[in-house]
Symmetry: C2
Subunit: 342 residues, 2 copies
């Protein structure tokens, strides 16, 4: 059987049964944004790792080396944030073809270093190996979280409201426009002037992690489950549903989508909802919270950080499944596959 | 400037100056087998990562998937051992082409899992991403060490004796024979029957980490510096010399080399010393120890583990450089580049 037939999540399910058998010190293992284990009486260590592969996750025609470095670091910070933790120490491994210039590698590291400064973490080590063709960047990020502040994907309760920070689909919209630009032939006219989509371009090229928002949510103590949007809203809600053994309904009309993203969807002729549901790398937070606390928490987040929080749906019992509700109230199953690697 | 011109270690030196600025909680950062930082009053967390890339670090014609998994895990265990620590939790990231079979991936994980059981650690998470052609395996291994038992590359003192566990060059000798076998055409005669080199074949295909020996050494409290042999003895002694700001002399005649390795070197027409000095992946330990403690420590290690310890040289003041001493007493500089990735 080829990997293409069972997919990434099918593979992970098979491996979970056979390989992963965590002990009592392991608080969360495979199947969350980061692994968490106990290192002292009150603190947990968080460890996450992401591998970015050239031509799969980035494209040198679109992303500068600086941006590749920045994006790789932010993706990991976002994973630690989604667990309620603070990022602390990073190890960076890079596979490089020997034809690459030293200056390019330094720009890559500079992007990572500026992101590290921004999120108050340190790059303390790593590994550099040669590759024959494609470049790959792997970051291991260690973080810390007080045991009582840990938030996993697995704590959602039926009746919780489902919330999301900021806006969705922007990164995917920006990427689509950048791809259009890079494949544009000389003389082609680009009908949408760049000032009409510069916000989503920047959002794609230099995303931000919702670290402050996540810490406020985690320390507030009322969030039951949280995840960051790296593979699209549908997939992330699916992960929460699976890990929490619950169902969920998401109201299409409540999904926060910016005006630039809507304009680009029209321009490209794609349903704008697809960008939000399936477009990855927005790095917003999706979280569930008891209904009684939702409005107060949303106000606190916007008051302290300026970041909007939208209530987009509700956690249901598992037997109700994961559904999308149209503006007219029509219900349909939400495809929760996320970005498929195979 | 291309990477090929400055090499891996030149690149790391440049990056050290520009990127890595560790704080007080970081006990060792880049430039050791693992990074170490404080997580409680007496304990340090160790984190190491290694990326193995197809066609650079392994070859599917020579290594089974099971062996690729085993070797990747053992290489990381060896790094934690060399710091004096115990491996605890691993995260595994794999880049896979979608044409790979599910069974192959499961064998790969099984190799890692059996190694994990052997060294009493747990695989708790990771990431699976697609690659377009080559496979890559990246393992992050977290370990723990009491602060007083930590051993780095940086503590060697002039006058220390330099010791090594087991025998060197065997893994490289085994690999050379395996490569010869895999390129053999039908009808070619392999002049050396496999029973004459099966020990080094196994040594290459299923290496072991010197975890027990390293822990005994670290807890004994007399070892000043330690490193594992992943890139050849010359390179590892060079790392200790650089990080400790010392020189060293290695007596050629004292380097422990097994009879199979000597036979293969003759058979292949290569100097046997090259296999020991430049051949990687033996995963033996090189350590320095005050002269007064060396013999007692060597006896303790062999008594408790059955593993021989050879005294192969002496730590010198930095101005004496790093030299090899021939059986007739002739001194020449030792090339300490190790395996060059670029």
């Amino acid at each position: 059987m080829k990997l293409g037939q069972i997919g990434e999540f099918g593979l992970i399910d098979r491996l979970k049964e056979r390989v992963f058998r965590p002990d009592k010190k392991v608080v969360t293992g495979i199947g969350d944004d980061a692994a968490a284990f106990r290192v002292s009486s009150r603190e947990l260590l968080l460890v996450t790792t992401d591998v970015l592969v050239e031509r799969v996750h980035f494209d040198r025609r679109i992303h500068s080396f600086w941006q590749i470095g920045w994006r790789a670091m932010v993706a990991n910070v976002s994973d630690i944030a989604a667990m309620g933790g603070l990022p602390r120490y990073a190890l960076v491994s890079i596979c490089l073809p020997e034809t690459m210039s030293v200056e390019a590698v330094e720009q890559l590291y500079e992007g990572m270093q500026i992101a590290a400064d921004e999120y108050h973490l340190q790059i303390i080590g790593g590994d550099t190996v040669s590759s024959l063709r494609d470049m790959a960047v792997s970051i291991v990020l260690c973080g810390q979280v007080e045991e009582k502040s840990l938030v996993t994907r697995g704590g959602a309760q039926a009746g919780d409201l489902i919330c999301v920070t900021g806006e969705l689909g922007g990164s995917q919209a920006g990427l689509a426009m950048l791809q259009l630009m890079s494949s544009k032939r000389k003389g082609d006219v680009l009908p949408l002037p760049v000032e009409k989509w510069s916000a989503v371009r920047d959002r794609h090229l230099q995303p931000r992690a919702r670290l402050r928002e996540a810490r406020l949510l985690a320390k507030g103590g009322v969030v039951n489950a949280m995840i960051d949007v790296s593979d699209g809203l549908a997939g992330e809600v699916g992960h929460i549903a699976e890990e929490s053994s619950v169902g969920a309904e998401i109201k299409e009309a409540q999904i926060p989508i910016g005006s630039e993203t809507r304009r680009i969807a029209r321009h490209l002729g794609v349903p704008v909802l697809d960008l939000a549901l399936c477009g990855g790398e927005d790095f917003e937070l999706v979280f569930t919270i008891p209904a009684a606390d939702a409005h107060r928490t949303a106000e606190q987040i916007i008051g302290e950080t300026g970041t909007a929080v939208s209530i987009i749906g509700k956690v249901l019992p598992a037997e109700d499944g994961v559904v999308l509700v149209s503006p007219r109230g029509k219900r349909r199953p939400m495809l929760t596959e996320g970005y498929r690697h195979f």
